[in-house]
Amino acid sequence: MIVFVAFLLFLGIGFDVFYIGDGELTFPIGSLTALGVGSVSALTSYYSGDRAVLLSTGAVPLDRAISTATSDDDTLKIRQFDNVVEEMSIAAGLPKPRVYIVPDTDPNAFATGRDAEHASIAVTRGLLDAVNRDELQGVVAHELSHVRNLDIRLMTVIAAMVGAIALLSDWTGRGLHRASSGRGGRDRDNGKGGAAGIILFVLWVIAIVLAPIIGQTLAMLVSRRREYLADASGAELTRNPIALANALEKIEQAHAPTTSVKRGTAHLCIADPLGRAVGLRQGWLPDLLASHPPMANRIAALKQMAYHG
């Protein structure tokens, strides 16, 4: 998180100093504008994001899911899910979130909403069919922990910063292009800062070119940390880490992509819905690009909790 702010500051101040201010530190108009634009888009998603997410996944509210249930067993499963959500919100001391079912056969679950009062939890049909009651409890506890830890708010703020970084990079990219084709040429004779200034300038140019990738990587880093945290605090709620570990194993076995969940919601799901191969392997590349830590690591961490607890 701090790294994130520092990175944005570096880019933003660099933008203002080298690009607008001709090497002088003036009022940081460029970075503030970028942050403003990023924030507006993030705020929009903050207040209406949950509805958009639920709509895009085709999630069905619980009572409608019950009235369209095809068999008594179906009704029982859905009712059980509703009960489990209520149990876990009692355990967490939170108001009960709204409950949705996504008609998708791949097992997955996600939570959305800006705080505990406006939270929704959704699971796929596939999950209800795949896991038993205890495992479902573990999954719901994980999702409720995202709500309790305010991860949704956190990821929104981060989305705003990623947006701002991308904007800065975009503007500079155009500016540099113009400069090199001889029409702008602003940064040609601003060698006022001496050698140190030039080194900083070069570093900044490299950073700004790589900015969108770095921003995304940092966002994923935060996302993975919060996954571990949600696993751990979920286990604190159920006092049953093994059940969550078992559920994760079952979810992993069916690692087909959850087609109804789009990329933007990935970090809210219990398992990477895109079914990307990187999510299953270990190594530096998946470590950089995945929204979720490798399943094996999460399961190992949960099992360790069980043996120490």
Partner: protein, 187 residues
């Protein structure tokens, strides 16, 4: 000069005391709310039991004793007075229900009956809710007690009129025991 330093120290202390007081009041209310949540769930359980007994009565005619025991345990739990008494009687009710469910396994018609399954799910869930409500109560009561008993709050907490909250414990020896499991299949 000295008077100002003294005043500043007093002001800091007063602000700290106000903060402490408000935090403790907040925690105390959460503790009370947690306690009431347990009651709500117990009440729900009492309401569900007659339904269950009526649904299974026809098929389980031969287990009249068990059914009566459940209803009696329920009646005792409803009329319990005070937390300790309630805890003991709720424990007895839990055991009676456990016996009923174990016996119901012997009746294939009951096992496949959707109504019974649904009621069983509701009761399981209520049992869980009672358990989680107790867990939450204990967590928040521990937090409340820790806030009172750590230094330096411990010097002022009782002066401000706060008492440590009692934790919920299993008072019934039977409930603490691991149930004996008999897998020899003999009747």
């Amino acid at each position: 000069m000295e008077i100002w330093i003294l005043l500043a120290i007093v002001a800091v202390l007063v602000f700290w005391a106000i903060g402490l007081y408000n935090r403790l009041v907040g925690l105390r209310n959460q503790v009370l709310n947690g306690w009431r949540q347990i009651d709500v769930q117990l009440k729900r359980r009492h309401d569900l039991i007659p339904n269950l007994v009526n649904t299974v009565r026809g098929a389980m005619e031969f287990e009249r004793d068990t059914l009566t025991q459940v209803m009696e345990a329920r009646a005792r739990a409803v009329s319990a007075t005070g937390p300790a008494d309630a805890a003991r009687k709720e424990g007895e009710l839990t055991q009676a229900l456990g016996r009923l469910f174990a016996l119901a396994e012997n009746y294939p018609t009951l096992r496949s009956n959707e109504n019974v399954k649904m009621l069983q799910e509701e009761l399981t869930s209520t049992e869980n809710k009672v358990g989680f409500a107790r867990q939450f109560y204990n967590d928040i009561a521990t937090k409340f007690n820790t806030a009172q008993q750590t230094f330096p709050s411990n010097m002022f907490a009782s002066m401000l009129g706060f008492k440590p909250a009692e934790l919920f414990e299993i008072t019934d020896a039977g409930e603490r025991q691991v149930p004996a499991v008999d897998l020899s299949m003999r009747k």
